[in-house]
């Protein structure tokens, strides 16, 4: 029942990096979270404000990084923090992506790219081919492009923007369809807006391809007790956040459609 991971401890922010007009990456020391695997998340306490679930973007050598998009009160407070500020941590929690060999494709949307960057770093030396499709609303919001350039060979990166300010002007699903039809992949990983994940799931199902998707839900306890993050019969915090094809099929009715709100009622995604 009691795990060291779930003990709240405090640490200080040692580096804050601006990634885009709305996204900052925060780095701090934490022994437990620095041993996290790609796909896992942590609960970050902004003292006196809130505690929020965040995907781990990088971990190792006692250091941990998370990328935070400013979307509400808690994240606005987070963005206002400076190096040296004290934060609280629980985690790492949840499962992680399997680490596939062979020909691997990663598809990220928005800050969903963060855990995939972690995964790409981990897979870089092990895979035969690593391809990445990243989508964002606009050029300024395309995250980690130069980091990904370093990991994948440049020709294996496709970027899309909704306004056409960088890369292709379309959603990630457009170049994805072409890739899936023209090339062979042993595993596809995705993380991003759920509507995008749903679409990608439909595309891989049509072509009978393996997929692992990291999902997001409102979270409170982070340890599988409170039920706030249920999708179908699964707890995103404990059974996920990474789900495979068989599990995604079981949650089809809710994926990209509905989730539980703060009051536990089902609301549109």
């Amino acid at each position: 029942m009691l795990t060291a991971n779930n003990n709240l401890r405090t640490t200080q922010l040692i580096r804050i990096q601006t990634e885009s007009p709305t996204v900052k990456t925060f780095t701090f020391t934490d022994k437990l979270c620095s041993k996290a695997n790609p796909g896992q998340f942590l609960m970050l306490w902004i003292p006196g404000i809130d505690e929020i679930p965040l995907s781990i973007m990088n971990a190792g050598n006692d250091l941990v990084s998370v990328s935070v998009k400013m979307i509400g009160d808690a994240t606005r407070h987070m963005h206002a923090l400076e190096t040296g500020a004290t934060i609280g941590l629980r985690g790492p929690f949840g499962n992680s992506f399997t680490e596939s060999r062979g020909r691997v494709l990663l598809v990220g949307g928005g800050t969903g790219t963060a855990p995939l960057l972690f995964l790409a770093n981990r897979l870089a030396s092990k895979t035969q081919r690593l391809s990445f499709v990243e989508g964002a609303k606009t050029k300024n919001e395309l995250l980690f492009v130069s980091a990904l350039d370093g990991i994948c060979q440049e020709k294996n990166i496709i970027t899309t923007t909704e306004d056409g300010t960088a890369g292709l002007q379309c959603l990630v699903t457009v170049p994805l369809a072409k890739l899936l039809d023209e090339q062979q992949f042993d595993m596809i990983y995705t993380c991003g807006p759920e509507v995008m994940v749903k679409k990608i799931f439909e595309m891989t199902e049509q072509r009978k391809l393996p997929l692992e998707a990291s999902l997001e839900r409102l979270m409170r306890c982070g340890i599988g007790l409170c039920g706030s993050c249920m999708i179908g019969k699964y707890r995103v915090c404990r059974d996920g956040p990474v789900f495979n094809v068989a599990q995604l099929r079981e949650m089809k009715a809710e994926l990209g459609v509905s989730k539980l709100g703060f009051d536990g009622s089902r609301i549109p995604v």
Binding site: M1, L2, N6, N7, L8, T10, M43, W45, P47, G48, I49, D50, E51, I52, T86, G88, R90, R220, C221, G222, I223, G224, L225, C226, G227, S228, M230, G232, K233, R235, L260, G261, F262, D263, G264, S265
Partner: protein, 305 residues
């Protein structure tokens, strides 16, 4: 599979085994209920539902202490009007009793929500008169025998299904509240809710939970819960559901011996949802080893002189 050893009944409820999902744990959706039933639960209790939706408190809503968890969720719930659909649907797929946990701010609210829940198919209601962290409901009622009686009487008058009262341990003498609930017509008592608690972060010099105080659950409270069950069973003949820190079959057997007809399991699900199966299997082999024909035979045996 030896269900006759484990099957039990009390307060008009028939359970395939004496383990019940405690309120507040995975308790919103029919899918969660069927998952814990598949894992082996003999009945399920929903999250507490009130007359109107509540979003609950901001995080942190949970903090771990050395041997338990302190939580202050703040009774998040969609309100009974929305929740009746979930009750309705759950009833179509569940093979075990569905107990709806009810909270309110007045006895009329308790009665109205209970009525709606039962009309939607609830097999029983469990009155949450002991939530330690929401003002003007829960514990404030559960600490006041007069208020408690009034609520139980009101609910009893409105519904014809079993009324279970979940008692607060945050009182001087829990048997006084047990007596008040019984005399007002309670069909069974759930003993106990969480113990009022707090955790403070020494680096930022502040309480960790957004609500400052919360309720302690888990292994830390098991001896206290067991003592409360024992105290009530010693004085009164009322079906008791033991609740507090049950993590394995050994804990469950202790509760039966103290006088509980069944146990609720909550915090231990943090280890594994399959805890229900492990507990029932362990209880079953205990009963076999001790040559009892049914779990009912051991209820209250620790009181034998």
């Amino acid at each position: 599979m030896g269900t006759n050893l484990l099957s039990t009944s009390f307060a008009g409820l028939e359970l395939p085994n004496p383990t019940i999902l405690a309120s507040g744990i995975l308790g919103y959706s029919s899918e969660s209920f069927s998952r814990v039933v598949k894992a082996g639960a003999g009945a399920v209790v929903t999250k507490s539902v009130g007359i109107a939706p509540r979003v609950g408190y901001p995080n942190p809503t949970i903090v771990q202490s050395r041997s338990g968890l302190i939580n202050a969720m703040g009774l998040p719930n969609p309100g009974i009007e929305t929740y009746v659909e979930e009750i309705n649907f759950s009833k179509t797929i569940l093979t075990v009793p569905l107990i709806v946990s009810v909270f309110g701010y007045t006895s009329e609210e308790y009665a109205a929500v209970s009525k709606r829940a039962v009309d939607a198919g609830a097999d029983a209601v469990e009155l949450n008169v002991s939530c330690p962290h929401v003002k003007q409901t829960g514990a404030e009622i559960g600490q006041n025998p007069k208020l408690l009686s009034e609520i139980v009487e009101n609910v009893k008058a409105k519904i014809n299904k079993p009324v279970i009262v979940k008692l607060s341990p945050n009182v001087t003498d829990i048997t006084i509240l047990a007596k008040a609930a019984m005399e007002a017509g309670a069909d069974a008592l759930t003993v106990i809710n969480t113990l009022k608690a707090i955790a403070i972060d020494i680096e930022t010099l502040q309480p960790i939970l957004s609500n400052v105080k919360g309720g302690l659950s888990g292994e830390a409270i098991k001896p206290v819960a067991l003592r409360c069950v024992y105290d009530i069973a010693e004085q009164y003949k009322v079906p008791i559901i033991g609740c507090g820190g049950v993590s394995n079959w050994h804990d469950a057997v202790e509760f039966f011996l103290a006088g509980a007809s069944a146990v609720q399991i909550g915090t231990a699900l943090a280890d594994d949802v399959e805890v229900f199966g492990a507990v029932t299997k362990g209880v079953e082999s205990y009963l076999r080893r001790k040559h009892y024909a049914n779990v009912k035979e051991i209820v209250g045996l620790a009181h034998r002189k």
